[in-house]
């Protein structure tokens, strides 16, 4: 099918997907005897060799526990950790590496905000505003706070087009102390107007925490442009390893936030009477950090920087356009695409329904074609209820996907229709 695709979208917009694919060893493997068509990056991304080798290299040449030891190897390890922190800081436009806290993942980052910041600054009757697009990671910690501290939760509704309905935002923000919102939905791909939301929340006197777990891997993230107070994301969705995530915070907000977990590494002093926490970011990094994982994340950030985040975004918009046009053309009214229909209004995530085939059954048939997609509620059950579905089938793409992958998806969907006799 001849449509505009990656590499044909004008100068400056051409990722060389064929070359990129060679950097990802797993993409050369097969699934059920078929070429692996990996369309589940929104769950976790695959890893380029550069990331795998950086982690191996760290363990082979620099492994020791970080901080405090006087020997050279430990200094190398500390440098590896802090070097990764500096890379991440640069990648997101932070003005200092000290604003980058390493956590286990975005979920822990958001829990840190709710439990440590919310634990200190919120009390009974205080209002936290969420959106109906949120992943459970940005819902449940606030529910816990609501149950334990009597915090009131309010919800920005989602319209039928999958976008946030901001018509009642001023009323929702009235008296609020926190707005916690996603920058991009992991279900509908909806990209939210974070900068506008942050401005309006600040005007209402609320702080802003952004779940950038889906945004950070796919669009150029600049924390200054966001204007939020906290930004959370995970390494494993952006070509890096599992086991490490990031919480960026505005310096004065991080300073005011008490420690989350207690232990070694996060203290200045400990006596039998109490402790004095270390400065940010160590204050939030109790225990031995995931050093090799940080190194891997640093390599992932380097890889994305080399591709260029504007190119990554252009590539994914082109894939969005190709997928929406081709699948709509092929399946017509049998296909429902959830969320914004415009390729530019969404990230590289496509949740859909096809002719009443249940997503679980759909993904089973796709599996036979070597296609990995995700069925289910995607940890966003409130949004599922808004969409009026129990589950969706979700395909998601990244730098290593091309129109061939979307074509394989289309053929597999046609086979599912045929198999279930619909």
């Amino acid at each position: 099918m001849e449509v505009t695709g990656p590499g044909q979208d004008g100068p400056g917009h051409d990722l060389d997907v064929e070359a990129i694919r060679k950097d990802f060893p797993i993409l050369a493997t097969q699934m059920n005897g078929k070429r692996l068509t990996y369309l589940d990056t929104a769950a976790t991304s695959q890893k380029p060799r550069a990331v795998l080798e950086a982690m191996d290299h760290y363990y082979e040449t620099s492994n020791a526990n970080v901080h405090r030891a006087a020997y050279s190897l430990a200094e190398q390890a500390t440098n590896a950790l802090e070097g990764a922190r500096a890379k991440v800081a640069r990648f997101i436009g932070a003005t200092s590496p000290d604003q980058v806290v390493f956590t286990k993942n975005a979920t822990e980052s958001l829990n840190l905000v709710a439990r440590a910041w919310g634990g200190k600054f919120l009390s009974a009757g205080d209002v936290v505003v969420l959106s109906q697009l949120e992943h459970h990671a940005n819902i449940v910690p606030w529910h816990q706070l609501a149950a334990e501290q009597g915090v009131e939760l309010r919800w920005i509704p989602v319209g039928p087009d999958g976008r946030l309905d901001l018509s009642g935002l001023d009323a929702l923000l009235d008296g609020a102390k926190m707005l916690a919102v996603t920058a991009m939905s992991n279900v509908t791909g909806t990209i939210t107007p974070v900068t506008e939301l942050a401005e309006r929340a600040h005007a209402a006197g609320a702080l802003v925490a952004v779940d950038a777990c889906q945004y950070a891997p796919h669009l150029s993230l600049d924390v200054q442009t966001f204007g939020a107070d906290f930004v959370a994301f995970s390494s494993h969705k952006m070509l890096g390893p599992t086991g490490i995530g990031v919480l960026w915070g505005r310096p004065e907000v991080l300073d005011a936030t008490p420690p989350f977990l207690g232990g070694g590494g996060m203290i200045l002093d400990v006596t039998m009477d109490g402790f004095t926490p270390a400065a940010v970011p160590q204050k939030f990094e109790a225990g031995t950090p995931a050093v090799a994982e940080a190194v891997g994340l640093g390599a992932a950030v380097d890889y994305l920087d080399a591709l260029g985040m504007d190119q990554v975004r252009a590539h994914e918009v082109a894939l969005n356009r190709y997928a929406i046009e081709m699948l709509t053309d092929r399946f017509g009214d049998a296909l429902t695409i959830h969320g914004p229909q415009e390729p530019e209004a969404r990230g590289g995530v496509l949740s859909f329904a096809l002719a009443d085939i249940h997503p679980h059954d759909m993904s089973q048939v796709l599996n036979e074609h070597g296609v990995g997609v995700r069925p289910g509620h995607h940890c966003a059950k409130p949004l599922m209820r808004v969409l009026g579905v129990g589950a969706t089938t979700r395909a998601s793409w990244y730098v290593y996907n091309d129109t061939d992958d979307i074509d394989v998806l289309g053929d597999a969907l046609a086979d599912a229709l045929d198999f279930f006799g619909l």
Partner: protein
């Protein structure tokens, strides 16, 4: 036979397209029990009406309706279950449930699953009063470990329903 056709036997698709005992019952006298598969969001609602809950295992399932939504495996398994146990005693239904879960769980253990479905039965079940019948078609599910929870959802909800109803 491809793996898919092993899983999606014609009788399963038939129950999926034309579910038996689909609907609701008035509560009370019926008892409503909701079952969830937290992994995929499937929901099964079992409406259960017993002649006399005080009779325990000797109570008769006078009526049964299945609601909710989910994949072909969870819905067809619940449909077959409803057809198999309606009009029979709670004791017979419990026995059939053990037999069915055993059919799922023995293989689950072999496949490296957690075997949690096998608890309390030791994995062996004598032939019961009620035959597996159509349910035998679901044994292909054991080759697809992530789908076993789909197949057992209705049954676990039924067992919970017996407890809720005091049967």
């Amino acid at each position: 036979m491809s793996g898919l056709e092993d899983l999606y036997r014609e009788i399963i698709l038939d129950h999926y397209r034309s579910p038996r005992n689909r609907g609701e019952l008035a509560v009370p006298p019926a008892h409503r029990t909701d079952g969830f598969n937290p992994l995929c969001g499937d929901e099964i609602v079992v409406y259960l009406e017993l002649d006399d809950p005080a009779k325990g295992d000797d109570a008769t399932i006078t009526d049964l309706r299945i609601g909710g939504q989910g994949c072909s495996i969870s819905q067809s398994s619940a449909s077959m279950m409803s057809a198999a146990v309606k009009g029979h005693t709670v004791g017979d239904a419990r026995h059939l449930t053990r037999a069915f879960k055993s059919m799922m769980s023995i293989h689950e253990g072999e496949l490296g699953g957690d075997g949690s479905e096998a608890e309390a039965d030791g994995g062996t079940v004598e032939p019961g009063e009620l035959p597996l019948g159509d349910l035998d078609a679901l044994k292909g599910v054991v080759k697809f470990p992530v789908r076993i929870k789909c197949a057992t959802l209705g049954w676990n909800t039924l067992l919970q329903g017996f407890d809720d109803a005091g049967g």
